[in-house]
């Protein structure tokens, strides 16, 4: 009963988000802000799958984003794939990187976070290596000028956001979500409930990396010109983690609200003084992780108001 209701509300919210982002460009012409907002929302939902449900904090989440951007770009440049297929290749590329990183899930807590961060940095150094200039253009960046199409890629981004939301809805209101939460609570007790812990958490990890890769792919298409430093920037990981922590982990709307509030804040006040934002968002991570680990939505939950 509770689950059916949750799924219906969740899908309703997804529809609302879709409609909003279709109409917003008509009344608000800063579409690049809207695109980035959708991008952060999708990344926040993707990170939510692994962090919110299984408790693994992936500080190197941006690695999947960058891997997605480069996989898509290379598919366009070398294989001449149409952009839409290339975005999918971005998702698959990040997913494969995710599979390579699966052993990291054996670590716990801060060890996992640090190892994942190091792994994403390693990816950056591989991609940005001048010796790979023939393939990745090294540090000089990628140009996809001839497929530049901010209109279509805007809607593809919206579809990816919707996909990430639907994925989270079905995790949140299913037995699978319960299994992931069990793993987050206690891996030993979870396995004694019969859960194949390595398998279930790897599936969540794969979904999470796939969503980041799709987002990276469509980002590559949308901006058409980018550098390794842009798509592997640690700032992206930090932002996404802050947004999810702020809004509320393990929920559908928490990551959306966190992204909306904090990314708008950053965009309208912070962009001129980014260094202060990095500092204050770093502090926010600490404050939320320590004192409000379930985000602002948990304040509602405590009063008995269930939020999808």
């Amino acid at each position: 009963m509770y689950r059916k209701k949750g799924i219906i509300y969740g899908l309703g919210i997804t529809l609302l988000v879709i409609v909003l982002f279709i109409f917003l460009p008509n009344i608000y012409n800063n579409t690049s802000f809207l695109f980035n907002l959708m991008l952060y929302m999708a990344l926040a939902e993707g990170l939510n799958i692994i962090y919110g449900f299984t408790g693994y904090l992936p500080f190197g989440y941006v690695g999947f984003f960058g891997a997605g951007a480069y996989s898509a770009a290379l598919a366009i440049l070398f294989l001449h794939f149409p952009p839409l297929i290339a975005v999918l290749v971005g998702g698959i590329g990040a997913f494969l990187i995710g599979i390579i990183f699966i052993p990291l899930l054996k670590l716990s807590g801060a060890y996992f976070a640090i190892a994942n961060l190091a792994a994403s940095q390693a990816l950056y150094y591989i991609v940005a290596n001048p010796n790979l200039e023939k393939i990745t253009q090294g540090p000089y960046g990628i140009s996809l000028a001839n497929i530049y199409n901010p209109q279509v890629s805007y809607y593809v981004m919206l579809s990816i956001l919707a996909f990430s939301m639907v994925t989270v809805i079905f995790i949140r209101f299913s037995d699978y979500g319960l299994a992931l939460l069990s793993i987050k609570e206690d891996r030993v007790s979870a396995s004694l409930a019969g859960i194949n812990v390595p398998r279930e958490r790897s599936i969540a990890w794969g979904l999470s990396s796939f969503i980041a890769g799709l987002s990276g792919g469509v980002y590559a298409w949308y901006v058409a010109v980018f550098y390794p430093t842009t798509v592997f920037s640690l700032e992206i990981s930090v932002f996404v983690i802050v947004f999810v922590l702020f809004g509320g982990i393990g929920t559908l709307v928490g990551p959306l609200i966190g992204s909306l509030v904090l990314y708008s804040f950053y965009n309208f006040i912070g962009i001129s003084t980014p260094q202060y934002f990095q500092l204050s968002y770093g502090l926010l991570i600490i404050i939320f992780a320590l004192f409000i680990p379930n985000g602002i939505l948990s304040i509602f939950e405590k009063r008995g108001i269930h939020v999808p």
Binding site: D175, A179, S182, A190, L192, I195
Partner: protein, 242 residues
């Protein structure tokens, strides 16, 4: 009468578990007969919990074998052991604290039993057996320690175990609660579940079984009736002591 009229459901052979150079299990061998309750006692640190941890796959042994229903299951993963029909409770209860009572049991009913049918029935059965129906929507973290032990038991029951390893469920209970749990365990035996019950309180073991194994320093030192145990010199020296 032979002990093995129904055969052994669990055979433990020369099991060794080391922590560093220390042998918490030092070649222990024992058998658990199908359909019975066997008590397991012994002084603190004699390896009772470690034995349960190895049999349930939480720890890997260094040597020896565990055979369940004729099949070797030594050192396989916990979830596979659960699917084969073994489950356990914890001396220090380990429910999924952030989940509700019902969710704790649901996840075990869905993932823990081989037979995927009758999930709702199994949830209700477990909830009513442990007597936590009224608390089903409460978070496990808000339960008392006794209720959390019961929830551990409920989580185990939801997986349809054939063999249940119970680790000191009676510690710290009132006389009335002891009686209730004893009846509950006897009820499970009636339903065909085999039980190995680790307990310090011989009085409690006396309520549910006649047969006990006494461990000391990672080995079995005695097997027989509680009566015989209380007359056995070695058991008196290391465990019942004065």
């Amino acid at each position: 009468m032979s002990r093995n009229e129904n055969g052994a459901i669990l055979k433990i052979e020369d099991l060794i578990k080391k922590f560093g150079n220390f042998r918490a299990l030092d070649g222990v061998s024992l058998e658990v007969d199908k359909g019975k309750i066997i008590g397991l006692a012994g002084p603190n640190g004699s390896g009772k919990t470690t034995l349960i941890n190895v049999v349930s796959g939480v720890y890997k042994s260094n040597d020896g074998r565990v055979i369940f229903n004729g099949e070797e299951i030594t050192n396989i993963d916990s979830h596979k052991i659960v699917h084969k029909g073994i489950n356990r409770t914890f001396q220090i209860p380990k429910p999924l604290l952030g989940l509700t009572v019902e969710e704790n049991i649901r996840v075990a009913a869905v993932y823990g039993a081989k037979d995927k049918g009758k999930i709702e029935e199994r949830i209700e059965y477990s909830l009513s057996t442990i007597g936590l129906v009224d608390l089903r929507f409460k978070k496990a973290e808000s339960l008392t320690s006794t209720q959390q032990k019961l929830l551990d038991l409920g989580r185990a029951l939801a997986t349809n175990p054939k063999l249940l390893l119970v680790d000191e469920i009676a510690a710290g209970l009132t006389q009335k609660e002891l009686k209730m749990i004893a009846d509950m365990l006897l009820g499970l035996k009636e339903k065909g579940v085999t039980l190995m019950v680790v307990e310090h309180l011989m009085g409690f073991l006396d309520m549910i079984t006649d047969e006990v194994v006494i461990m000391n320093a990672g080995k079995e030192i005695f097997r027989g009736s509680i009566r015989e145990a209380s007359n056995n010199e070695e058991v008196i020296r290391v465990f019942l002591g004065g």
